[in-house]
């Protein structure tokens, strides 16, 4: 958020709407109306004084109206832009001429004469990412609005939030008491024809589990129960979250939407549900409604304005395999505007749309952008340390536990500190500007920020130092949130004491910090894409369309990967037509050079400057030079070893069934088909959910019914995970007479031969009986497993998840960035997914790779190892331990070898430092002196 606020190429037009679009792709004129906020953005500092004095209290929309705010207010401490805003409907100026805020605003920022402004901008393309709305629960049968202790999931999100209306305390609205039991009701406004929302909102199951986990973090004693129809934890790492939740004691009760009633005396909520045998009544102190997503309110208006179509649910229409269908009309849609999806899918979907924009506008890249300029770096050589300390409240995340003011006073007493202050949110634009100003004003030459984790925030604060003309390595970030206020939230004094000690250590270390230089690297503007399946080809084409040369390497004898095996999609399209188009474009695009039948055999170099050797089966070797790598090596389908697969002719996989269906090879006698879901997955040893198999089963079941409506088709499942609009097909399959029967992981179905056919026995918990089913054909839904990811991970220095898929840097916000700089991941090597999803992800990977290649040069880290040659005796111990190949021995004179560090390859892990027998290697930014100083500060008794 604050990155967007600070980016020199982004202009944020808040409070604005698009009213007219003219022109054509490449040259649109868009008319935008800016509604008045009655505050001049250029003058407002976001200090909030106006809000303090405003006499009108209104419900705070940021807190889902649970807490109060004022008629003039700043949305939240991190708001971008952090400017006050007047709620015209509540403000007394417009009815009674109240002018208190005008009187108290020192910057004369308040301006009630502000009018709507109309303006035009010229753009080449338009990207729609308008998100979703929330289902309105006030008219449903859940007693919302009537029963005080029934809240929506969004309200609960604010209740558990440290910056929320109850400062993170979970309290009942009826009496302010911590509830003893909390229930979540799933599918509120989803998967229900009663409310006109047939689809599944895709993210509610996982957020409900997250909320129950957060509840347990706050109060381990609160009993938490999730009422659901299916648990749909289909995303990467989600099944693991579900398993952790069960271990943590969170209960899952399967039932249709239960009935809620309020106990008039205690205000408890009594939930009645049918548990399979009888009606059960349970009492809860609080109930959370897991509210589903609805189309954003403006979709219809916007669709008319932009000439886009909506689907039957009111979301923007996305043709199947849609990123390929880019008709280059210059208007692209992504994220939840297209369908309900979670954050990483949103990033990829919006990234795919952005990638289409980048392709269309490639010839004009860089024509209207500006580069961020930094002031020249000030030399601090010979200066005594002048340390500034900035202590972040992080809303109440830190300040709610730690005595921040006390910490500021303490900072002033530490050696070298010449300035100290506390800040509401240090990483907000205002916080950062304040740091920049203080560095300049007070002549600071070291900065200590006591806030959160360096993993996410060190780059943010280093940037502030750069803007102030200080070397970024003169920053020390100390984590008093994760290490103090979060882990010791129940022991405030201890947490504060620990924060003092960590701060003392940080200041001691800061006194010894030295400026470091970052090597500049030229970037080779060619890309290597590994894997020629649908993801790899999509990434290669996207990069080529953006003007970059691409090498595409496929180890098989032909392009297409798993996609080649698919015969039809759920929506009835032919994947082979899409594949043909893709392959022909790959073969004809002059920017793409495809190496089919080649494998990567060696990789050298580093971000911006890779050298890769690929080899064909015949042993032909080709050396390629390139700046980035996109890994799209795909997944494999498991060949099952259970349920008589390979031992009985009547047992096939879903993919084999699909091929039989498309080739008309279903034997005439087949009248009864049984499908088993989750074969050899979602169980110890392979615990993840393979995401796509439920939809595949529904797809093939519908095809069978199409072939012969009289055919008996039974699907044995654990949870049907037909998320999003696929739910409609699940519904259709049930309408067509496909029978879905649930089984439990502990009592899996058993299969035995029965003449030509098979006999399947299955315990069905909903009727508490074992059924015997006869099957002419048994179809196994087998998971996608990682294919060769371990090998590629080792070669490219990537990491894999416990399930064996490639790991991304951040599961939420950076779903395609690998931990190795310049290497991006996409497709099924990352996790099982539908082709549409793989295509979106591939486009996003291409976009991220293009950003890197569009830079003339990039900076490597300055915190790397250095060899002091006169101490080095050339033993090579350091060379042996370096996992990155950053060290080598160089012959200085005949017979005299010295270790050399390649600063670009060095990751600064310091392993070599520990191995060097003579102390010749030092890790800059983590020198012995800096570390010892910090330890001394910890152990000194003076306080």
């Amino acid at each position: 958020m604050s990155d967007a606020g600070r980016h020199p190429n982004i202009r944020i037009l808040s409070n604005s709407e698009v009213v007219e679009v003219e022109g054509e792709p490449g040259a649109f004129t868009v008319t935008i109306v800016r509604h008045p906020r009655y505050v001049e953005e250029e003058l407002c500092t976001g200090c909030g004084t106006c809000s303090t004095y405003c006499p009108i209290s209104i419900p705070n929309p940021y807190d889902e109206n649970l807490g109060p705010t004022k008629a003039i207010s700043v949305w939240c401490p991190q708001a971008v832009p952090k400017k006050a805003y007047v709620d015209r409907n509540a403000c007394q100026y417009f009815v009674g001429k109240c002018t208190l805020c005008i009187a108290v605003c020192k910057n004369k920022a308040i301006n009630f004469a502000q009018k709507r402004k109309r303006g035009k901008v010229q753009v080449g393309a338009i990207l729609v990412a308008t998100g979703y709305g929330l289902f309105d629960v006030s008219h449903g049968p859940w007693g919302y609005g009537e029963f005080k202790n029934v809240v929506t999931s969004m309200e609960y999100e604010r209740i558990t939030n440290a910056s929320g209306p109850t400062a993170g305390e979970i309290l009942r609205r009826s009496d302010g008491v911590v509830p003893d039991r909390i229930a979540w009701i799933q599918c509120v406004g989803s998967r229900s024809f009663d409310f006109g929302r047939s689809y599944c909102s895709a993210f509610c199951c996982t957020y409900a589990i997250k909320q129950a986990m957060v509840t347990k973090d706050h109060h381990p004693d609160i009993d938490t129960v999730i009422f659901h129809m299916d648990v749909r934890t289909f995303g990467k790492g989600f099944e693991d979250l579900y398993n952790r939740a069960k271990k943590r004691g969170i209960k899952f009760v399967r039932s249709r939407i239960p009935v809620l009633r309020e106990d008039p005396e205690t205000k408890d909520i009594v939930i009645s549900y049918y548990d399979g045998e009888r009606l059960v009544r349970e009492r809860f102190g609080m109930v959370v409604l897991s509210v589903g997503a609805v189309p954003a309110a403006d979709n219809l208006k916007l669709s008319r304005l932009l000439g886009l179509e909506l689907n039957e649910h009111g979301f923007f229409k996305a043709p199947s395999l849609y990123p390929l269908d880019g008709d280059r009309k210059g208007v692209y849609v992504g994220g939840c505007a297209v369908a309900p999806m979670d954050v990483p899918d949103t990033i990829c979907s919006a990234g795919a749309a952005a990638s289409e924009v980048a392709e269309l506008l490639a010839p004009s890249r860089g024509t209207l952008s500006v580069k961020k300029e930094y002031p020249p770096e000030r030399s601090v050589e010979g200066e005594e340390p002048k340390i500034g300390v900035f202590i972040c409240h992080c809303g109440s995340n830190i300040a709610g536990v730690i005595e921040v003011k006390d910490l500021v006073d303490y900072a002033w007493t530490l050696e070298g500190v010449v300035y100290a202050e506390d800040q509401l949110i240090s990483c907000s634009n205002e916080g950062l500007s304040r740091i920049v100003d203080q560095i300049k004003e007070k002549g600071l030459n070291r900065v200590v920020v006591a806030a959160c984790t360096p993993r996410t925030h060190e780059p943010v604060f280093r940037e502030a130092l750069r803007e102030a003309g200080l070397n970024p390595y003169l920053l020390e970030l100390v984590n008093i949130r994760e290490h103090c206020s979060w882990v010791h939230s129940m022991e405030k004094e201890v947490a504060t004491e620990k924060a003092r000690e960590l701060l003392r250590m940080a200041v001691a270390r800061a006194r010894r910090l030295a400026p470091l230089s970052e090597p500049l690297l030229k970037v080779d503007k060619r890309a290597l894409v590994i894997g020629g399946g649908v993801a790899g080809m999509t990434a290669a084409l996207s990069l080529a369309r953006q003007g970059f040369d691409v090498y595409l390497v496929e180890k098989e004898g032909e392009l297409g990967g798993n996609f080649r095996k698919l015969r039809y999609t759920l929506e009835g399209r032919d994947p082979q037509v899409v594949l043909e188009r893709l392959v022909s474009e790959i073969m004809t695009n002059p920017k793409v050079k495809a190496f089919v039948g080649y494998e990567v055999s060696e990789l050298h170099g580093f971000v911006g400057n890779f050298k890769t050797v690929i080899a064909s089966r015949q042993g032909e070797r080709v050396e390629l030079e390139h700046g980035v790598i996109v890994v799209a090596t795909g997944g494999e389908l498991l060949r099952p070893s259970s349920y008589l697969y390979g031992k009985h002719e009547g047992v096939v996989t879903q993919l084999e069934l699909e091929q039989m269906l498309s080739e008309g090879k279903i034997p005439k006698g087949v009248k009864r088909v049984v499908m088993i879901q989750c074969v050899e997955s979602r169980e110890p040893g392979r615990s993840y959910c393979s995401r796509i198999c439920c939809a595949e089963a529904v797809k093939n079941a519908l095809k069978l019914k199409e072939l012969d409506p009289e055919m008996e088709v039974v699907v044995l499942y654990r949870d049907m995970r037909t998320y999003g609009f696929v739910e409609d097909y699940y519904h259709k399959a049930r309408q067509k007479g496909v029978l879905f029967l649930r089984y439990e992981a502990e009592r899996k179905p058993s299969v035995e031969p029965d003449g030509e056919g098979l006999r399947v026995r299955c315990f069905v918990p909903t009727i508490a009986e074992e059924l015997e089913l006869k099957a002419d054909l048994l179809v196994l839904s087998t998971p996608v497993i990682p294919g060769g990811t371990a090998e590629i991970a080792e070669r490219l220095n990537l990491q894999t998840t416990p399930d064996g898929f490639l790991a991304e840097v951040h599961p939420k916000l950076r779903p395609v960035d690998s931990p190795s700089d310049g290497v991006f991941i996409c497709g099924m090597a990352h996790y099982p997914k539908f082709s549409e999803e793989a295509i979106s992800q591939a486009k996003t990977a291409a976009l991220r790779a293009a950003i890197l290649m569009s830079q003339e040069e990039i900076r490597a880290s300055g915190a790397v190892c250095q060899v002091q040659e006169d101490l080095c005796m050339g033993c090579g111990a350091c060379v042996e331990v370096c996992a990155y190949g950053a060290l080598g021995l160089e012959e200085k004179k005949k017979g005299l070898k010295k270790a050399q560090v390649n600063p670009v390859l060095c990751k600064g892990d310091g392993l070599c430092v520990t191995k060097c027998p003579t102390g010749a290697v030092t890790l800059q930014h983590f020198t012995d002196q800096q570390i010892i100083e910090a330890i001394d500060a910890l152990t000194e008794t003076k306080d």
């Binding site: 958020m1 967007a4 980016h7 190429n9 202009r11 944020i12 037009l13 808040s14 604005s16 709407e17 698009v18 054509e24 792709p25 040259a27 868009v30 949305w75 939240c76 991190q78 971008v80 832009p81 952090k82 400017k83 901008v121 753009v123 080449g124 393309a125 338009i126 990412a129 308008t130 998100g131 999100e157 604010r158 939030n161 996982t206 957020y207 589990i209 997250k210 986990m213 790492g237 916007l302 994220g335 505007a337 979670d342 954050v343 949103t346 990234g351 980048a358 506008l361 010839p363 004009s364 890249r365 024509t367 209207l368 952008s369 995340n397 599961p811 939420k812 976009l847 293009a850 950003i851």
Partner: protein, 58 residues
């Protein structure tokens, strides 16, 4: 089509719109990010922690 205009209009300042804006801006395009509310951030700015790692969302 003569050379297109090297600028983009992004409608919607939630996490999808913000990330797309950042990526396109870093790639060298001028971005106008239009948001109907007085501030960007969308729903994610209101969330407490995010799944599956249960980490801070802002």
């Amino acid at each position: 089509m003569s050379n297109p205009v090297g600028a983009v209009l992004v409608i919607g300042g939630g996490i999808g719109g913000i990330q797309a804006s950042l990526d396109l801006a870093s790639l060298g395009f001028r971005v106008y990010l239009v948001e109907s509310k007085p501030q960007i951030g969308g729903r994610m700015a209101q969330l407490d922690k995010t799944f599956p790692t249960v980490e801070c969302s802002i």
